[in-house]
Structures are given as structure tokens and as C-alpha cells.
């Protein structure tokens, strides 16, 4: 029996974060990451709707209608938290003050392009903070399954979906592998679980080199 790909990805992505970093977590797999952070990996979570210092989900008694994350779900705020308006929040992001953005993607191109906000032929009417985050954060960490449910590769030669940004991705973590963008192209640096290079290659359309690290 194999582990749930999402938990494999979240657990591995958690290791990319360093103590003290300011981190913005997207919806989906990125939101599982706090469950995999060690006690000594205290990070500060930023949410673009205006809070630095996001805490755990509230108990029923702690629910506060004025306190939500970017997915509009109830949250808590930790001691030392601060609130700010949306222009300040995106100044933090665009200005390079957020260390890491962790987000999902529909496709990542082989030169670090990312498409994660719109599907061709569907509505292109909701972008939210995706473009600001991938352009502004110092490191962009993509957590995604290696293929779509239909089996199509998501790490591709060239994104065919509408772009979020060009050349913005630094690291891609899938359920099989870790890829790092170096000098404008991807390097496979780690295999996860029982994955082999052949298996990774069979679900990856992008060209990449291999420099496995211990």
C-alpha cells in the first residue's frame, strides 16, 4: 500500500522551510505543511488578506468572524501577530519580505514558468494573489502531484495553460521527486519513497538533469 501522495508531498515540502522564515501557504497541499514541521522549525505564517502570525484552526469557542485566512476559513492569531491592510500585505510580498511562497500548480514549465490560476476554455475570472506571490516571494516552492488525474504530466516543456509568471519557480516537490531550478533549468535532486529515475522520467515532460543528493 502506498502513502497518500498529498501527505508525502507536504511532509517533504516541510523540510524546505527554515526556522524563523516568513512563509505564505497556498490552498490545498501547502496547508498540510504545518502538521509536518518539527517543534524547532518555528516559522511565521503570512496570509495575504492581512495577518502575519497565523495560528492553528480555532476551536468552536475561538471562532471569530473577523479572523480568516486567504481561503476565507477561520483561523487564530498567535502572540506577536500583526494585522495590516491589503496594500501593505502585498508590499510585503512584492517587496521581497516574504521568504517563501508554497503553492500548488496546474503546470510548471521547464524554465520555471508557472500556470496555476486558469484552465483554458474555462473562466479566467479569479486570480487573487497568485501572481503577486510567485513574483514577489524570495523562494517559490511548488507542491503538486506529478500528473493530472487524467495522467498528463504537470512538469512540462512549455505551459499551455495561462501563465501566472515566467521563470518564478525555485523548487518543485511531487510525490516522487524533488526538482530544483538551477541556472534556468530543472535538476532532479531527490527521489522520494521507492520512486526510480525511470518512473520520474515517464511522468515528466520537461527536460531535466540529474544530480541526486544524499
Amino acid at each position: 500500500m502506498s502513502a497518500d501522495p498529498k501527505t508525502v508531498i507536504a511532509a517533504r515540502a516541510a523540510k524546505e522551510l527554515r526556522p524563523g522564515e516568513i512563509v505564505n501557504l497556498g490552498i490545498g497541499i501547502p496547508n498540510l505543511i504545518p502538521g509536518y514541521l518539527g517543534k524547532d522549525t518555528a516559522i511565521f505564517l503570512h496570509t495575504e488578506n492581512g495577518l502575519l502570525g497565523v495560528g492553528p484552526r480555532p476551536t468552536e469557542d475561538e471562532l471569530d468572524p473577523d479572523l480568516v485566512d486567504a481561503a476565507k476559513r477561520p483561523i487564530t492569531a498567535l502572540p506577536g501577530a500583526s494585522y495590516f491592510d491589503s496594500a501593505s500585505s502585498f508590499a510585503m510580498i512584492r517587496g521581497g519580505h516574504v521568504d517563501v511562497a508554497v503553492l500548488g500548480a496546474l503546470q510548471v514549465g521547464e524554465r520555471g514558468d508557472i500556470a496555476n490560476w486558469a484552465i483554458p476554455g474555462k473562466d479566467v475570472l479569479g486570480v487573487g494573489g497568485a501572481m503577486d506571490l510567485v513574483v514577489g516571494a524570495r523562494r517559490v516552492l511548488v507542491t503538486m502531484t506529478s500528473t493530472t488525474p487524467a495522467g498528463d504530466a504537470k512538469l512540462v516543456r512549455e505551459c499551455t495553460f495561462p501563465l501566472t509568471a515566467r521563470g518564478a519557480v525555485d523548487v518543485v516537490v511531487t510525490e516522487q521527486a524533488v526538482f530544483r531550478l538551477r541556472d534556468g533549468s530543472f535538476v532532479l535532486t531527490e527521489l522520494l519513497g521507492e520512486a526510480t529515475v525511470e518512473e520520474v522520467s515517464s511522468v515528466t515532460e520537461a527536460r531535466f538533469t540529474i544530480e541526486l543528493e544524499d
Partner: protein
């Protein structure tokens, strides 16, 4: 604002005229001036409105009410998708949509209130959202020229106002409200409570009263 600035919601929305651009605060319904939006839906005939708001409410709620009434001609927003009826209205050609990255949307409103005529941002460069906009390479990076956004009327929400119109926001209900308060000809603040002058700590006032024309008590 003077003491005469404290008005009813019905009086306040009388400032919104047909064809106006109206900014509405809130991130979804959090921090949205729901009493003012309801008053605009129920006690105003103003139509053909351009709405500047991060979302177009939810189905039948907040700005979703005005949408159902067919009174929105154009939306300027970062996320129409949170109201499927807004998406359907755009696809049916009933309303015009201008989509902006959320940070660009916020900064354009800030610029509108601050007398800035436009700004170059790297966000959106090379994407669908840069189409038709001037692009310029600055320090080796492509940037997009974005225009400021202003409105005829801004409807904002603050947890507390004092009788002068100073505003105090609570938690993540702050969001776009302090920005929009600066960027309209007439700013109407809906407040959870109205306190006497001097009760708000001066350092905690996020919107000084010079931006605020009228205050309405949330009902």
C-alpha cells in the same frame, strides 16, 4: 467629518448616482459594509454601476444582491470566481469584468487615494493580465504600467468609528477598507459602534477622519 456626518444608511446611499463608480470594502464578506450594501439594494435606484471590490459578494449576499438586481454594469476585482453568478453574468455579457492581481488591485486603489498617476509592477508581466498595458524593462525585469483607481463613492466597514469619523479596524476585517476610504470623492463608513471623540487611541486610528464624509451605524 462633522457631527452632522452621522446619518442613516438610507440617507447615505442617496450619494450613489446612476453611472457612478462605487468602491466596496471587504475580503469576501469579511469586513464588507453589509448594512450599506443592503441599503443600496433596497433604498436606491442608482444603476449602471461600476463596482470596485475584491469579490462581487456571494450569491444573493453582499454585492451579490446588487448583481441579481442587474444594477452592476462593470466589475473591477481580483476574484470574481467566489460568486458563480458573477462569473455567469460576465460570460453572458451582462457585466464587463476587469481582472487585476490582488496586490495590483490594492496598490491601484492606494495610488488613487495618494495622488499617484500610475506605477510599474513586475506582477502580471508576460501574462494575459498584461494585455493592452504598457510594458517596460526596468533593472532587467519586465514591468507592467498600472493605472490608479478612484471612485465616486466608497463604502467601507470599520469595527469602530468616533463622532469625527476616525476609524478603527479589527483583525482581518481591515483588508481593503482603509485604502478605499482614501480613494473616493465621498467616503461612507459603516461602523460596528460609534464612540465619542477621544475614546479611540490616536495611535490605533488607521483612517484619520479627513477621509471620511459620513458614518452609518451597522444594523
Amino acid at each position: 467629518m462633522t457631527a452632522s456626518g452621522l446619518v442613516t444608511a438610507e440617507e447615505a446611499v442617496g450619494h450613489v448616482k446612476t453611472g457612478d463608480t462605487v468602491m466596496v470594502g471587504g475580503f469576501g464578506l469579511v469586513g464588507a459594509p453589509l448594512t450599506l450594501i443592503d441599503a443600496l439594494a433596497d433604498h436606491s435606484d442608482a444603476t449602471d454601476l461600476t463596482v470596485v471590490s475584491n469579490n462581487i459578494g456571494e450569491p444573493g449576499k453582499g454585492l451579490g444582491k446588487l448583481l441579481r438586481q442587474g444594477r452592476i454594469r462593470r466589475g473591477i476585482s481580483s476574484f470574481f470566481t467566489s460568486n458563480p453568478e458573477a462569473v455567469a453574468a460576465v460570460n453572458a455579457g451582462e457585466i464587463e469584468a476587469t481582472l487585476l492581481p490582488q496586490g495590483t488591485f490594492a496598490e491601484a486603489i492606494r495610488a488613487g487615494g495618494a495622488g499617484i498617476a500610475g506605477f510599474f509592477t513586475p506582477v502580471g508581466a508576460g501574462t494575459l493580465l498584461a494585455e493592452g498595458k504598457e510594458e517596460r524593462v526596468i533593472d532587467g525585469m519586465p514591468h507592467v504600467l498600472e493605472q490608479p483607481i478612484r471612485a465616486d463613492v466608497a463604502l467601507v466597514y470599520a469595527a469602530r468609528a468616533d463622532e469625527l469619523g476616525n476609524l478603527w479596524y479589527r483583525h482581518t476585517a481591515r483588508n481593503f477598507n482603509p485604502l478605499m476610504a482614501t480613494a473616493a470623492t465621498i467616503t461612507i463608513a459603516e461602523a460596528g459602534e460609534v464612540v465619542t471623540v477621544g475614546e479611540l487611541e490616536p495611535e490605533s486610528i488607521a483612517t484619520p477622519h479627513l477621509y471620511v464624509d459620513h458614518v452609518v451605524l451597522r444594523s
